[in-house]
């Protein structure tokens, strides 16, 4: 099929099935409000076109897949490009056992199941392979006990993607297994986790004798780490809401001159120290944009770019320094909060929420390890527990 034929077919499909100008509210943790439309997308082979024909796809090239995505994006229609963006479906399609795979993948591609991630634990954050939630075989099921944290959407989820330990007598990466854990069952207790921002976007999940069919295991017992790596690779696409704006709801000035405007409003624009800081922080923002543009250009020419790994560090620096500058503009006003003091509310929220980026999804310190090791080729951190049976690994 030529590119032109593919584009024509995609347009015809969209013309027949998607009202122009209709808005889609988008996917959140697996569920999608337009699941009937997504079913038609799936049936037409547009959901995951680069997958093989026997697996919901059409065996198209990545470039042809992009053509379909572009048409969908132009129409504002959801559901295309899930072969790149659907974390849940990609993980299941790659690793689920055949029966469960045929059952769950279409549901995931049509937004009919709610999902959550059961990865981090109070004792396993940066060192994720150190999880201590356990799965013990009992007949056709596994029985799960343990505690997970930083889980979004847990209360409504149908399934949680769970990494847990099935073998305690092998080194830590080798004793892990990965499940689609049914969430709506008595042994699962979801409690909102109050954050430093006084919001609760995440949950703690306490798991006590919850059951999961062995058929829901992805990969084999002990394959959990490998499956997790697949899932993490797709995770970026659901972590898109990383840097949120101020909380007051006030839009505030935008663009490169935003901080100039804020300083003007605060009556601080003539302060030479403030002006220096405005330049510094605005420069961080612009440099990050220029770096990303250069990386994109490099990638478009088929070259890899070390810059891709730098975005998170750059964003942390931007968020923390901008929050500090906003605090400086406010002075003692920054001691206040509440709806009467929206500027203070914003500055204080941004100060605290900057940690969402500098800690969430791996701390900046772990990111520096990754850059040092994978980009610059420096030696890996020694891991004292890497070869020890997990039972003997020190915890606490």
């Amino acid at each position: 099929m030529t590119d032109d034929e593919l584009i024509a077919e995609t347009r015809a499909f969209l013309a027949a099935n998607w009202a122009p100008g209709r808005k889609s509210s988008g996917e959140a943790y697996g569920r999608h409000p337009d699941s009937d439309f997504l079913q038609r997308v799936l049936d037409a082979g547009f959901a995951v076109p680069t997958w093989p024909r026997e697996s919901w796809g059409r065996g198209l090239s990545a470039a042809q897949g992009k053509l379909i995505e572009r048409e969908f994006a132009a129409a504002g229609a959801p559901g295309a490009g899930q072969d790149r963006s659907n974390l849940w479906a990609n993980t299941a399609a790659a690793h689920a056992q055949p029966d469960f795979r045929s059952h769950i993948v279409p549901l995931l591609l049509t937004g009919r199941v709610g999902m959550c991630l059961l990865y981090s634990e109070p004792g396993a954050g940066s060192d994720l392979a150190g999880v201590r939630t356990r799965a013990d075989r009992d007949g056709d099921d596994y029985v799960i006990n343990g505690q997970k944290v930083w889980t979004s959407g847990a209360a409504d989820a149908d399934y949680g993607m769970l990494i847990c330990r099935t073998d305690w007598d092998v080194p830590k990466h080798k004793g892990l297994s990965f499940f689609f854990l049914p969430m709506q069952q008595p042994g699962i207790d979801v409690r909102p986790l109050r954050q430093i921002t006084d919001e609760a976007h995440f949950n703690e999940v306490f798991i006590t004798d919850a059951r999961v069919p062995a058929a829901n295991m992805l990969g084999k017992p002990g394959d959990g780490w490998r499956v997790l790596m697949t899932a993490l690779a797709y995770e970026r696409s659901v972590m898109g809401d990383a840097a949120r704006g101020p909380r007051s709801g006030k839009a505030g000035p935008k663009g490169d001159a935003a901080l100039v405007e804020l300083a003007r409003e605060a009556g601080m624009l003539e302060d030479p120290v403030v002006r220096q800081e405005i330049a510094r922080v605005t420069a961080y923002k612009i440099l990050n944009r220029l770096n990303n543009a250069r990386a994109k250009a490099d990638m478009a020419q088929g070259n890899s770019s070390p810059i891709m790994s730098l975005g998170k560090l750059a964003m942390s620096r931007i968020l923390h320094s901008e929050a500090a500058l906003r605090t400086r503009l406010l002075g003692p006003q920054s001691m206040l909060e509440g709806p009467q003091h929206p500027c203070a509310e914003d500055a204080n929220f941004l100060t605290l929420n900057a940690y969402f980026t500098s800690i969430g999804g791996g701390t900046d310190q772990i990111q520096r390890n990754i850059i040092g090791e994978r980009v610059l080729g420096l030696p890996k951190e020694p891991e004292l527990d890497r070869e020890l049976p997990f039972r003997e690994v020190k915890a606490g």
Partner: protein
């Protein structure tokens, strides 16, 4: 700009080959100890390659390149720590003559600058040395058929080796650019912390001068030349930053203590990760400024001011951290890290400080809204 992408790459490859062959660390160290501070034989080859005439128009014997080509050329020069009057002659003086619009002077002076036979420099700031119009401290008065200059100019780069001085001075009717024979000027060579740099303070006392005609106000022409110089320095800073960074990462892999390569220690690894961000941001800022200047874009002043402080600070920070990360070996004269730090500290002052450029940047933001 007449140079295509492939042609430009070939040009840069040739330039890098020349620098690798003739401007290795040992060459830099040898040349920086000579009184002239540059290698005349190498200068001839630099000229033959078209580098000295890079931004000179083809009708005056130049290549007709612009800011983007200049920036790339300077990245390579900065990486090699090239000691030469290129910035003074091929950028500042060539840029000033190109911008000023005195056709006779351009036709008479630019071909020599382009072919390297004439080394020129520009005296444009007084002892306050902020490279701004207010700081011009030379006055010009009519004398016979020409003019005579009085006063002082500071931090004039490569004045001692210049065959031609362009002096910015205050005439009764406003600022002008004057052509002066360097032999007629009292030159006080300054001992430079960056041993690869040559600078002098100049004193004018009834010094005979020829006034160049200007199609645009003199300071506008000076700013146009300074913009090219800022982009050139940003390129030099980007190239120097990257070279020092790579040198440091290589060393962190090779140097072993406590039975491990020191790059395996997070104390070093995390510094390296942060410097990668510095180095890449520096390159992005320099190239962006060059593109905006070459395009004559409305936001060019903002992009140039950004590059001027971001690249200056990145080069100083990276070279300073590089010494710390190397440890004792980089405290020795024999190690090249300090040569880069010295260059970085000079580049951070020419032609204006980071603080001043941050202020200019904020002013550009204020105007852009």
């Amino acid at each position: 700009m007449a140079i295509g992408a492939d042609e430009m790459q070939a040009f840069l490859d040739g330039w890098q080959r020349l620098l690798a062959a003739r401007c290795a660390e040992a060459d830099v160290r040898r040349v920086m100890e000579t009184p002239e501070g540059f290698d005349r034989a190498l200068w001839g080859e630099i000229a033959a390659l078209g580098i000295t005439g890079l931004i000179v128009a083809p009708e005056h014997g130049g290549v007709g390149g612009g800011a983007t080509e200049l920036e790339r050329v300077m990245e390579a020069a900065g990486a090699a720590l090239l000691p030469s009057p290129l910035l003074s002659s091929g950028v500042l003086a060539a840029g000033l003559l190109g911008a000023l619009g005195d056709a006779e002077a351009a036709a008479r002076l630019l071909p020599g600058i382009a072919d390297g036979s004439r080394i020129a420099t520009v005296a444009l700031t007084g002892p306050r040395a902020r490279w701004i119009e207010d700081d011009v401290a030379v006055t010009a008065a009519p004398a016979g058929n020409g003019w005579q200059l009085d006063g002082a100019a500071a931090f004039v780069t490569h004045a001692e080796v210049a065959d031609l001085l362009l002096v910015v001075a205050r005439a009764p009717d406003g600022l002008g650019v004057f052509e002066v024979d360097p032999a007629a000027v009292a030159t006080n060579a300054l001992p430079a912390f960056d041993r690869t740099l040559r600078m002098a303070d100049l004193t004018f006392a009834g010094t005979p001068a020829t006034r160049l005609a200007g199609a645009i106000p003199a300071w506008e022409a000076v700013e146009a030349a300074l913009d090219l110089a800022r982009v050139a320095i940003a390129g030099e800073q980007a190239g120097g930053t990257r070279r020092v960074f790579e040198m440091t990462v290589d060393y962190a892999k090779a140097r072993h203590q406590f039975g491990r390569a020191i790059g395996g220690f997070q104390a070093i690894k995390h510094m390296a990760a942060d410097l990668l961000l510095e180095s890449e941001s520096c390159t992005s800022a320099a190239r962006h400024a060059a593109e905006r200047l070459a395009a004559g874009a409305e936001d060019a002043p903002q992009a140039i001011a950004l590059a001027a402080f971001a690249c200056a600070d990145a080069f100083v920070h990276t070279t300073a951290q590089a010494i710390q990360m190397h440890g004792g070996i980089a405290f020795t004269w024999a190690h090249p890290a300090h040569l880069y730090l010295r260059r970085a500290r000079a580049d951070a002052q020419l032609f204006g400080t980071s603080d001043a450029y941050r202020e200019r940047f904020v002013q550009a933001l204020e105007q852009a809204r």
